[in-house]
Subunit: 140 residues, 4 copies
């Protein structure tokens, strides 16, 4: 897996508001979709559905922050880059950026905790995740 994983978003007419740019609330949703695609690529199954129902754990979000740098429009695909930045005892942090035509549109940080599926009970990072993710870590 590359250190920086990219996921492409098709920005449509219905994603834009009357100011003719993507409505702000779509942007964290796209960042989450990119993070889910990252898990899909890492684990080889359908994202959080695979994590929850096949592997028996989950990674709910406890924090997100985003800076919006430039408007997003349907004129170009939005290329989201996902990089894991920190792996704690039972947490993982990601940096996600989104660009159109090589120009930065947003950047954000996201923190998730590891839990047992179907509970709110924290658990340690699964060993197979730790070994796969450690080489991918990059400073925030």
């Amino acid at each position: 897996m590359p250190k920086s994983f990219t996921h492409e978003i098709r920005v449509g007419w219905g994603d834009c508001d009357p100011a003719r740019i993507a409505y702000t609330a779509n942007i964290p949703a796209w960042a989450l979709e990119a993070i889910e695609a990252w898990w899909e690529h890492l684990l080889g199954g359908p994202g959080w559905y695979h994590v929850e129902f096949d592997l028996g754990w989950g990674t709910p979000f406890v924090h997100m922050e985003l800076d919006f740098r430039a408007p997003i429009t349907p004129r170009h695909r939005l290329i989201c880059t996902v990089t894991p930045t920190r792996l704690g005892t039972s947490s993982i942090a990601f940096r996600v950026t989104g660009s159109q035509a090589d120009s930065l549109c947003f950047e954000g940080g996201f923190v998730c905790v590891f839990i047992r599926a179907g509970s709110l009970e924290k658990r340690a990072v699964p060993p197979e995740v730790r070994s796969a993710v450690t080489p991918l870590l990059a400073p925030a």
Copy 2:
């Protein structure tokens, strides 16, 4: 319960597209929200969540059709009216209309089947639903 149940939708900036009107895909979503609010009112619990997890059945949609009569904007609340139109052995049909400022914006028909929760297995209309809904039925 009134024969015609109404549910109010707040149309926001983010619901509108660059043509300055509600994006079409939001309209079936609002009709479904109105039908869920109808169940909530009928049964006294939180909609399909209550139906699935407290009562043990479900009502997945098998058909929908909508005619769009006039654009929807944030200038007025959208008033959705839900009327059950037919109760079969294991199905229910609804008519839903949406109006702004007393002018019809959309009208639609929806058909759901009754299943056991967590399965695709059809079941008969629960007797308490049949007795509560029969007096509310109105021709489509």
Copy 3:
């Protein structure tokens, strides 16, 4: 352009409801996304954004109907097929189907009218659309 254009949808965790299948309201939204991708392919610009702001017309929906045949899950990509079925003086109709793992999940019919951008005024099908779409028409 092939007679049957396909557009792939990534079904994610957030698209699913507590019954572990795609929430019904996402399905018409995906069908619309597939129709917009069809326009994008036909015209070579970013969908309805291109149509409205570069070409000066629009194609609002006046009717949709959908039959839901099987649940949709994140286990497979959803392959949507878009076929134009009728071209009137100032309208176009589409058939859209969605399949997962070669099994039909939904099928639907959609009708749009041609208008001048920024108005509700009907206009004739643009000649370049008529000539490009006529060879693609297939019976509903």
Copy 4:
């Protein structure tokens, strides 16, 4: 206008994911809806639609951060509280919290800049906004 404005969200079946709780990406969307409702209450018109098309300015978001404290479910309405926390030369910051059954579910901070409608050009806070908002400011 009260110092702390509240806006109620109906959490539905379709807002929840297979973990039976509201999908994370809905939460910033609800916070934005609450902020738009705050503007609606302050200005007496339909939110950002009124701001953009009647008043001629806009307030795009440049930053958001959220901490997720407890899961959100359809069992209760989600009560969002919006408080302006800072008014700069051409910016405004808000604190938004969301609670269910008196228990905190999320808290967040949001920053918007004032622009001329239809542009990316910054402008000063409109005087009528400054005079209406200054008495409402509360520490973050």
